[in-house]
Symmetry: C2
Subunit: 665 residues, 2 copies
Amino acid sequence: MVSLRSKIIVSTLILLFFSSYSYARGRGVTNTASSPFVKLKSLDIDDVKWTRGFWAEKSALCHKVMIPNMRRILKDPNISHAYTNFLIAAGREKGEFKGTWWHDGDFYKWLEAVAYVYAVTKDRELDQLVDEVTEVIGEAQQKDGYISTPIIIKGLERFQKVGHHELYNMGHLMTAACIHYRATGKSSLLDIAKKTGDYLYKTFKPRDRRLAHFGFNPSNIMGAVELYRTTGDTKYLELAKIFVDMRGSVSGGTDQNQARTALRKEAEAVGHAVTANYLYTGAADVYAETGDRALLRALEKIWQNVALQKMCVTGATGALHRGASSARDDVHEAYGREYQLPNATAYNETCANIASAMWNWRMLAITGEARFADTMELVLYNSALSGISIDGKHFFYTNVLRRTKDVPLVSWDLPTRQSYLSCFCCPPNIVRTIAKVHGWAYSISDEAVWVNLYGGSELNCEFVDGTKLKLTQETDYPWDGRIKITVNAPEKKQFAVMLRIPGWAKEATLQVNGQAVRGGLQPGRYFKLNRTWSAGDVIELNLPMPVRLIEANPLVEELRNQVAVKRGPIVYCLESVDLPNGVKVSEVVIPHNIKLKPEFRRNLLGGVTVLEGEAEVLKEGDWSKRLYRELVPREPRKVTIRLIPYYAWSNRGVSEMTVWMPLDR
Amino acid sequence: MVSLRSKIIVSTLILLFFSSYSYARGRGVTNTASSPFVKLKSLDIDDVKWTRGFWAEKSALCHKVMIPNMRRILKDPNISHAYTNFLIAAGREKGEFKGTWWHDGDFYKWLEAVAYVYAVTKDRELDQLVDEVTEVIGEAQQKDGYISTPIIIKGLERFQKVGHHELYNMGHLMTAACIHYRATGKSSLLDIAKKTGDYLYKTFKPRDRRLAHFGFNPSNIMGAVELYRTTGDTKYLELAKIFVDMRGSVSGGTDQNQARTALRKEAEAVGHAVTANYLYTGAADVYAETGDRALLRALEKIWQNVALQKMCVTGATGALHRGASSARDDVHEAYGREYQLPNATAYNETCANIASAMWNWRMLAITGEARFADTMELVLYNSALSGISIDGKHFFYTNVLRRTKDVPLVSWDLPTRQSYLSCFCCPPNIVRTIAKVHGWAYSISDEAVWVNLYGGSELNCEFVDGTKLKLTQETDYPWDGRIKITVNAPEKKQFAVMLRIPGWAKEATLQVNGQAVRGGLQPGRYFKLNRTWSAGDVIELNLPMPVRLIEANPLVEELRNQVAVKRGPIVYCLESVDLPNGVKVSEVVIPHNIKLKPEFRRNLLGGVTVLEGEAEVLKEGDWSKRLYRELVPREPRKVTIRLIPYYAWSNRGVSEMTVWMPLDR
């Protein structure tokens, strides 16, 4: 048996090793590390630029609309009090704290988005903006490094309630500061974050039992690892490990924030889904830097539990407003029972979905397995983007899969996206995700470049040996599966281009310089295209996108005998505005042999491919006075339906909508 | 505005009025009262006897098997400690208390069943049995009238925890004692119960705030009203009113036992479903004796909420092991959200279902509306009887609507019915229900006799004016809808026979002495057959029983695009033992035009009508590694299925089963 002491020695040695390793790294490293435990290395923050197409348009909207709109919101005390709280804490203004306990974190997320956008646009106005608020944040910070404006302004004692979200606030500060440093080379915000990191290390290092079950939505784990990656200081990695290890280490923790069971012993996704996914993401970061196999084993088990039992077809997670399986604690905004995936009453918070994408991005980096990239993409196009309107200025909190006027809105359900939410965690989260998603499009490994996401883009990077590489990707993905990649390596060099063949791409074909590459294009795997490349070599990948009806595991009772519609990575839905008058969303039945024709509409919903075809209508009649009735033979009549991408629903007023529709076999 | 004082005066006057009214009543009154606020009066305890057919057979099994089997269980300390606890509390034996806090109540329920069976059989052995245990109960009772053996034996302080179930125990004592008195004329047990009632009156009359949210599963309300009905002493009615009024009267109560919101202000069925339905039943009893309209209004609202949003097709209630809607408390064994009716993970405790039948029986008495009798019948044949095996000796606690080996059993789910349950509340509850259901078959009003339940039986009773009436009913109901009733009034007398036309009986026909009676046979209403009767007049009612496919309100997500099968009052299910090898229950799809042929099988499951027909099989393939997949066109093949009554499933070993099946439109 290995003694505790020898464990500590080994840990210390590992940390020392990484320490020297990490100091060697510069500002270019983004969210995943260049550690020996990571198969796919991240690229520098400005290595990838979207050029044309879906993400290029979202990215431009992010720069031109989302960022300034959110700046206006966050700085206007009559809307959001986030910035004003900093001004008050800094002593520049007088007033009371207003907003949620986690309002600082919302602000930092927006700051992170600004830094990402600056990295690729070099928009000087954004640079100045960060400089200006950094000063204020610095003044608000306490001498010992602590910073969380509600506690400071209210003069409360620190770390009294998990719900105070102090670690969430400081976690997002650390992440934003690292990104800002990498984007600008300026250490102004990073210096503040380091002070905070040092404070947290000092506070949590003694493993005070009373602090064991802090925090909630633990962005602090990711933040601490990022701080380690950026500064090379191993104490921040140790801090991240403490944050992971202390949960569930003393009794009295609950599933609400995954503190009942220590993560290494957990096999199930439980509790508040944002808190859960932030924890899993942070733990993946810790694995990525330490190679702690027990963590990865737990994460793999939990991932399986989510992917096979608890994930919506849109990739959304945390299906319940509230619930518990019988052996678990009652939790809010929660992962439910196995196979419990309600539609109209789904929670599926935007933040939980984004966190799932972040988690999958890290699992991809660790393993190089396409299933994680598939899930990340599924979330991005569907349950993440559904959180923001086409105009970039309105937001959903919950992401239901069905909306009917007969099910009342509760809690954070909204009739349609809103320009401001008093709980403002999701809006800046989706904005920073759009701002950084280009960083997830490609990865690099020793002898390969990995194409994770498809979209018009340009990659300029270096291999580990210093060889420069330029890739140009042209495609109308996700509306069209034809992808053209031009390789511009400056010299003849042998390396592999790893092409992700999505799980849904059954008939993928590939050509290099017009010559077909045969065999091995397995759906749900990366295809290794290994050769000696010359400048101007052209890869043509075709991922045919037939419209597919999707059915769910029969154990999911809420989805039994129903179908969803997917094309490529896009999940579709039926929205009432697209139905003829007098036909209800719930009256549409999908014949098993329906022909749905894709058609791209430039002027609809920012440009989307819609699906049109003939379905059936079965009039419901009056259900107001009964729960059951005799099935009366009803002759279905035909109706032409138009399906739109799920993410684009509710952009044309208040409506009814469904993703899952009854199947006529 | 009416002042509190005048309200008290009015209440007192009302109580005084009933007081004099009640003293006039003798031993014949059973569960519903002969009060001016009750439209249908109950019959004397031995007025009705089952003669032949379904209930006669169950009733005989109750006498010959269920009662003695349960006597053996309850008296054997190596199985149940219920009787031993009384012996210890009485000082006759030494030992520790064992069993649940509510184990006394289980014993009293069985005692009540014994009294009912004695009333119609005059089986002297049963009489002696009660005499014997009554002595012990009397010795166990404390000097001041208190009796709850766990508290007595453990020497604990009284009324410290709601979960101690002291009021549940004493409530069932009061009810059992009243029934025993009516069945035997002996006051031995009643005297004990009166002492308990007096003790409770003294304890709860001062409305101590600390007692406001007692008790749990409040049989004490029904028990107190019954004690009032039997003794005529108004303080017991006042006690029952206190029990109803004190819930939710001080803050801090939770939905778990309906103590968050005062009943009069409630519009929704919430919390633990047994506790809920016991409360509603007790409150209906209080209304029946006081005419308190605010209570009836609340009960009607709650009933609508259950019937239109929260009741299974089997009549079962309390669908959740655990849950809460977002605005409500987290509760166990609970009523869920509107339209939340899971199948495989349903709770649907036998006790909750029985309590629903008791509640509906009282609502029927109060209003004379057939919808309550329909619901009572639905529960009896389906979600109550499902709690007991065909042999009368094995019991279910939860009553799922689907059983699949892929959903793990949790909490009180059982692989198949068990001979003993350590939580023994349901078994004696179903036994006492079978023992007394003849009392629900008929009612009497000033000028009418009401036929509530159909079954071979004989009624001997008196009208209010003293006229004697004898009815003989012959039928093979529920397997056959033909019912023959012979009226044997001793003299020509004009009165109405009120015949319940069940909600499902669309094509009912009626003859009197061979002459068709036309018009007015509305489903879901009582048909008033008013005439001057002669001895030997014959009523022939025919309730055709076509097999019907049932669909659920589209808002019930777990039942979407699926059908259940009913014939008459019987809900059917598909059990794996009736399928060919290699076909799974979940693979069977029901064509909308399926022809299901009823056939009575004398030797199957105690004699049941099965339904046979041709359905479709769609092989599922392997779902173990995925949650979603592309719908692949699969040619359905035909399969002959046999459906059995739901109540009779799981009598042939461990099996898979479903009530709801996917529909092929």
